[in-house]
Symmetry: C2
Subunit: 329 residues, 2 copies
Amino acid sequence: MSSIKDVARRAGVAISTVSKALNGYPNVSEETRVKVNEAAKELNFTPNPIASALSSKKAGRVALLINLNTKTQAVDEIDMQYLSGAINGAVEKKLDVITVFFSMIRNWKAQEIADYFQSQGIEGIIIYGMGREDEVLHELIEEKYFKIVVVDVPIVNETTSSIQIDQEQAQYEVARKTVLENGGKSVLYLAGRPDGYVTQERLAGMQRFAREEKMPLLVRRGDFSEKKARELTFQYASDHDVIVCASDLMAIGAMRALQEMDIFRPVCGFDGITLMGYAGMQMNTVKQDFYRSSQKAMEEMGRLLAGSTGKRIMLDYQIVRMQYLDVIC
Amino acid sequence: MSSIKDVARRAGVAISTVSKALNGYPNVSEETRVKVNEAAKELNFTPNPIASALSSKKAGRVALLINLNTKTQAVDEIDMQYLSGAINGAVEKKLDVITVFFSMIRNWKAQEIADYFQSQGIEGIIIYGMGREDEVLHELIEEKYFKIVVVDVPIVNETTSSIQIDQEQAQYEVARKTVLENGGKSVLYLAGRPDGYVTQERLAGMQRFAREEKMPLLVRRGDFSEKKARELTFQYASDHDVIVCASDLMAIGAMRALQEMDIFRPVCGFDGITLMGYAGMQMNTVKQDFYRSSQKAMEEMGRLLAGSTGKRIMLDYQIVRMQYLDVIC
DNA sequence: CTGTTAGCGCCTTCAG
DNA sequence: CTGAAGGCGCTAACAG
């Protein structure tokens, strides 16, 4: 492990010059820059980020703060896409990444979280699965101490960017498509958890559609739970033509219930997880690319860390018909 | 952010004394230890691990090196269990964790990997999904420079521990149970990828059973691929009574094929993923607790870092009958 | 048992 | 444009 000192000696310059040359400072002649780069290459020099972080007080570390869907099993898929997208994105940006689960900071105060992250040399945080009732996280965002990217939460300020799809429009479209394809006359809508940001937006899309079409709409909260969706379907499906669900998992639950009830109702979901294909179901859904969105989130983090100010980023989505073939082929 | 200096001043002692007190060195009087602890608490002192790492040359960081099942989609479940188990385990052990995917170090030489990890202050590596042909990783293990825990790979030396279940026995048991329950007379075995360590061991278990029972056994390599299992089933199922698969995903593929062929054959899998429940299938399988095994791996890493020498750790497993109910309830 | 003294490897003014 | 000097926050001998 050669250090910057070795490089300096080999290039015949001072340590500080090496530092400047390697970090792309402007006040270094082209000549010495080349000399230094060569020396570094020959010595196979890898800068020590720990020392660098200590010295500059900038570690270039970002935390992935992720709310694992521990209760709704089997949607690891989404979280895994998030993680791998972010981690791979970080490699390109040369950012160091650590993963932190919500469960770890549960009951911590904002100050404690801030201290912890700061002591870890963390400058940026990407938050997945934040709800409107996560007050501590809201504080953290308003504090503006860290650069933050929130996924699926519409909050933006100088140090905070948001990244998401147009939930309202997407829900509108998938509901419209499903209803029109099947000529439904009344809709049962299984909404998400009330404290989820996406929940409200998706609900709004559903309501817009119902209003436009003057279609009766019954809204029940399914809390993104497969089990709850199942129960609600047993309870309300007979009186409604179409079942629109705010998540694929709920759609699966609804479908299962319908099968048991032995009645047919078109169902649509939201997310586009492959799990649905495995469940042997065929239905419309909103297909999101979680990997990509997380990768984008990391890109945006790079920009924030470089000093640009927060902004809202909208991603696209597709309305698709999922089926088993999509999975295995 | 108060530093050790502040604590020292507040406690009226020297910086080094604070360091000793807080890090549990023996040569500190109980009296000053208490004083220091109080001061630290009052100032809400969080030690800066970056500085500590630079100074002591020990970062207490461990890398999770994970071979994502990118090809066989939908088994994110296992990887996610691994990740969360390890990360949560690390919290207890106060270890810092970074996640690295195999894809990132593909084509790197052992020296490059070592340099990279070392420069990152990484002392330990937990490896998931390593194959017998990953020569570079074998080098890394033999080098003995890092403390390593390999999951599902039977390699042990002074600095390397292995953690796994008894693959051979598990495969034997699940095959036996499935055959006996159904009174089969000949078995089609769909094996895993040839370069997987578990592949050989599971195959051995299968062979032992066939030998004991003097039962005809046809082995084909399914490469852990659902698609391949499907094809092999079409090809060979008619001539065999029972299909034993070296993974749940293959079992799903086999089942699907059987359904299309419209013939019945008992099938059994290996892993115990919930995905199988979703696929609407009911079959025997070897249920492993990936979360727990990963957590154990991290515990073992803690021991290795503390200086103990590598050892083999065997975990238990269960032979269960998976079905949808297990999933939703 | 406690304090003093050197750094860890790098960044960052500030002179030259 | 380059080099010398002074830390970042903490640990680790070494004296006292």
